[in-house]
């Protein structure tokens, strides 16, 4: 490599909040007191919280220092598989910060919130167009919340068509949220093995699918980055036995404008607006997990629904077969504004997004296949999965490779997932990375492959240039210290 991006910079130490400050300081401009103190029963009065008192500058420096210990998409390539860490456009932040949106109370009378209702109505329409599924709810606050809502809809559908079904088929490549969401709906997950090609076999599905089974949850493209080519046939098998097909759209970034989700046989699909539609990940949320459904499942969608009559938008609570409310209000509206801004900025170029995301992943796959073991040697979608099978011989693990990548200035890929690949390294570059940036990443991870043979101890010791080195996770779990 010519010039390594990763280096040590000016990094400050920063104590915990309560290790600084002095009682009586404040960082808040207290509003004028224009009323007299009112009496309060002493039995109700408490001492108030034991928070440290700091000045405005002290708090500014505190969080500025902390932010410098973080790696974000703006810091560099963040190829975290299945998370779609694409660029978060700044104009989206501007739109979401408009006072008319941030200051709006959710229970405003409809005539005083037409703009927000129109935005939601439009976004539902765009997501329907992108997926091919005609009815949409924006209420779920995250992908897993969308999964839960989708499985509630499947559960409600079965209850209204002959009764509860107790099982659901879930591939071994699925995210852990799939079985956890199904369980919350009182269904028992039945695992299905993927075949030697890394995808589902219709025959295996046919064997397991019965009248006790509510349906199947399929992530497509799956977590190996492979398109489930038999999805149509699998959907027919499931539908023939009265089941429904749940689509996990976590990987939708690969197939926008390319796959018609309804034509593929999917009945319910969740989207992750914080993945596919560029809204920031926020260090772990807030996300947004809208779900899109077929016409026959529309009556089961959460309430209220945004409806348009003439030029006027309203919230309609009247849907007797609805699963109910999944969120106190309408979901993460601020995230919806950002996603809508992204779609309006891209238009039909969303297809180009998917093409370039898939191009980037296949390019990485081809350029690394001679030095890392490729788990499934097939054309991939938006991500590719390698393993540490070659490096293992030198006692170098996926974890070591990941930690060494930090010293080269890159965020590591998703590691040890999916579970079906031992020592998995799951790389998702996204379309917003240029060829130059991807080439630099390839150089780095190829260089690490060489080091694993020549100087494995460097990898075992990595990272050394970060704020902290490898942390003792066993100690953290054995003697939990969850507050200071």
């Amino acid at each position: 490599m010519k010039n390594r991006i990763g280096t040590t910079g000016l990094v400050f130490n920063e104590p915990l909040l309560w290790e600084q400050g002095a009682t009586g300081r404040t960082g808040f401009s207290m509003p004028r007191r224009d009323v007299d103190p009112a009496p309060l029963d002493d039995r109700l009065r408490g001492d108030g919280p034991d928070f440290p008192d700091l000045s405005e500058l002290e708090v500014m420096r505190h969080f500025t220092h902390l932010s410098q210990w973080n790696f974000g998409v703006d810091s560099g390539l963040y190829p975290l598989g299945s998370c779609t860490m694409k660029y978060n456009p700044r104009t989206n932040e501007r739109q979401a910060a408009l006072p008319g949106f941030t200051g709006a109370h959710p229970l405003l009378p409809p005539e005083l919130c037409q703009g927000a209702l129109k935005l939601m109505h439009d976004l539902e329409h765009y997501l329907a167009e992108i997926t091919g599924l005609p009815a949409v709810t924006l209420q779920p606050a995250a992908g897993s919340h969308g999964e839960l809502t989708g499985m509630m809809i499947i559960s409600a559908f079965h209850r209204s068509h002959g009764g509860h079904r107790s099982k659901v088929l879930i591939p071994d490549t699925a995210h852990g949220t799939n079985p956890a969401s199904a369980t919350l709906c009182g269904m028992r997950p039945v695992p299905i093995r993927s075949n030697d090609q890394g995808i589902l076999d219709p025959a295996t599905v046919a064997e397991l699918m019965d009248e006790e089974t509510a349906g199947i949850m399929v992530t497509n493209p799956n977590t190996l980055g492979l398109f489930e080519e038999n999805i149509r046939e699998i959907a027919d098998i499931v539908h023939d036995r009265g089941g429904l097909v749940y689509g996990d759209g976590a990987n939708m970034n690969a197939i926008m404008g390319i796959v018609d989700i309804r034509a593929a046989g999917v009945d319910v699909l969740h989207l992750n607006l914080h993945k596919t539609f560029s809204t920031p990940h926020g260090g772990g949320g807030p996300g947004s997990g809208p779900i899109c459904v077929t016409d026959r499942l529309k009556p089961f969608l959460p309430v209220p629904r945004v409806v348009k009559t003439g030029d006027r938008y309203e919230l309609d609570d009247n849907a007797p077969r609805s699963v109910g409310k999944i969120h106190t209000f309408y979901g993460n509206f601020g995230i919806l504004v950002r996603a809508c801004s992204y779609i309006l900025s891209m238009g039909a170029d969303l297809k180009k997004v998917s093409q370039l995301a898939v191009l980037n992943a296949n390019y990485i796959k081809e350029r690394l296949r001679d030095v890392y073991h490729l788990a499934y040697d097939r054309p991939c979608m938006h991500e590719c999965v390698f393993s540490d099978a070659i490096q293992e011989k030198n006692k170098v693990s996926t974890l070591d490779i990941a930690k060494r990548l930090m010293e080269y200035g890159f965020h590591p890929p998703t590691i040890y997932f999916p579970l079906v690949v031992h020592g998995a390294i799951m790389i998702e570059p996204t379309e917003t990375e240029s060829k130059d940036s991807i080439d630099a990443f390839i150089d780095a991870i190829r260089s690490i492959a060489r080091e694993s043979a020549d100087t494995p101890e460097i990898l075992h010791e990595a990272p050394r240039t970060t704020k902290v080195r490898r942390l003792d996770e066993t100690l953290a779990a054995r003697k939990p210290c969850l507050k200071g």
């Binding site: 009065r45 703009g115 109910g324 409310k325």
Partner: protein, 444 residues
């Protein structure tokens, strides 16, 4: 397109490495019967400036202060947010990062969440708090499900003075599994009436909200004692206005087992109802049954203090169908905002601001009473209360809209026996002049 960096030459060079002729070849594993047959029918892409115009126009239709005087709370509160919170949240190392799976390069997020957990436990008087849930309603649903897991009972008792929309979320979560929700009525004082509770022996949990939906401060000691008269039953309290604990005794001091609620008041804009912040805390002994992520302190290889995600064997990515919840991403950035807000206020500021909210609400209450309005409940309240306007709730609220005053939330839709009442909320953003105007208008 400015978000897509590939030149024609880049694409050709990359395709050549892959051994393909064009971009369509990348998708040849997708069967034809799954493919879109037509191009996406979306509006033509807008330039940044066109988008600004479009969004300005949508946002411009919304009724917000200062143009409107707003006395509407009911789970979504108008509090001043320091500009410094907004500015800090714009640091892209904070908002463009994801879940801190790689702790060595995520210490900023991890220390912030550890500080958040700590400040929340101090605010609520609880042992442990998680890294956040989605929002108040689903946090309460998850708390009740946690009690069901711990006690292996299938029935919970919840107060009808809990936010009606939270209760609807709870019902949605309970429907597929058939767990039963028994609703406890409220009494003439606006607080939960426990007389119908009987022996709590059959219940996994007894849950109330304090301050409750009517703004009334519940007698948590009495509810706690009633719940704990069966040693297995969990006592759950929830809230929609955490600022109240700057003035009132915290729920932990009443021996609550789980305390959860909505943290939007802590530096997060109302944003038409979301994103908010689901706060979730419990006693230490229940930590391994909790949903959601937890950050813990540990040391690195060189013995330096550091933070990691911990106790993750409760979670879906490890435990799959046996996980304590399906929650994965939560409201990280909102928890970060809340941490900053609590840090700027400090303990002194938090107490002062809480007292100001209480005093202002008491002022308005007194003035409304003097002007001939009645208050159906006589329990102490924090910063919102139920009032009966002389001209009726719906009519008065509608009339005042013309004067750009949103006088409160008419309760007919939520409580048929309070059909003539409205819930009125006062925070530090309401001036005495605003309140005097409201009094004048509702009684004129």
């Amino acid at each position: 397109m400015r978000y897509l960096p590939h030149t024609r030459e880049d694409i050709d060079a990359m395709l050549k490495v892959i051994g393909m002729d064009n971009l369509d070849d990348l998708f040849k594993t997708i069967p034809r019967d799954c493919c879109s047959l037509v191009d996406l029918n979306l509006p033509a892409p807008l330039s940044e400036w066109e988008l600004d115009t479009h969004m300005n126009q949508l946002a411009g239709t919304m009724a917000v202060s200062p143009e409107y005087k707003i006395f509407l709370g009911a789970g979504s509160y108008d509090h001043f947010i320091p500009e410094a919170v907004r500015q800090l949240l714009l640091r892209s190392e904070i908002f463009t990062a994801y879940t801190p799976y790689q702790p060595e390069i995520s210490q900023g997020t991890l220390q912030t969440i550890y500080e958040y957990q700590t400040l929340i436990t101090r605010l609520l008087g609880m042992d442990v708090a998680n890294a956040s849930m989605y929002e108040g309603g689903s946090a309460l649903a998850e708390a009740l499900l946690m009690a069901i897991r711990i006690t292996r009972r299938k029935k919970v008792a919840i107060s009808t003075a809990i936010h009606p929309l939270y209760r609807r979320v709870v019902r949605t979560y309970f429907t597929p599994t058939g767990y039963e929700v028994v609703e406890l009525p409220f009494g003439r004082d606006g607080r939960t009436d426990l007389s119908g509770l009987g022996s709590p022996g059959e219940f996994a949990a007894v849950a109330v909200q304090s301050p409750n939906f009517f703004g009334c401060i519940e007698d948590l000691e009495r509810v706690g004692n009633a719940a704990h008269s069966d040693p297995k039953t969990l006592f759950i309290t929830c809230f929609s206005e955490p600022l109240a604990f700057g003035l009132l005794k915290n729920p932990g001091s009443f021996d609550a087992d789980i305390v959860c609620g909505e943290g939007q008041s802590l530096g997060i804009p109302r944003a038409f109802g979301g994103p908010g912040l689901g706060i979730f805390s419990a006693k230490q002994k229940y930590v391994r049954s909790m949903p959601g992520r937890l950050v813990g302190q540990t040391v690195d290889k060189d013995g330096r203090r550091g933070f990691v995600l911990t106790l993750s064997t409760r979670e879906q990515h490890i435990r799959r169908e046996r996980a304590t919840s399906n929650i994965c991403s939560n409201q990280g950035l909102c928890a970060t905002a809340a941490t900053m807000y609590m840090a700027f206020l400090g303990g002194t500021g938090f107490r002062e601001l809480a007292a100001l909210n209480y005093d202002k609400a008491e002022y308005l209450k007194g003035e409304l009473k003097k002007a001939g309005c009645t208050l159906p409940f006589d329990s102490p309240t924090f910063n919102e209360f139920v009032v009966r306007f002389p001209g009726g709730a719906d009519a008065t609220c509608k009339q005042l809209l013309e004067k750009k005053i949103i006088a409160g939330l008419p309760l007919a839709k939520y409580y048929s026996d309070l059909a003539d009442c409205a819930l009125v909320t006062v925070t530090e953003t309401c001036t005495r002049a605003d309140m005097d105007l409201l009094v004048k208008e509702v009684t004129s």
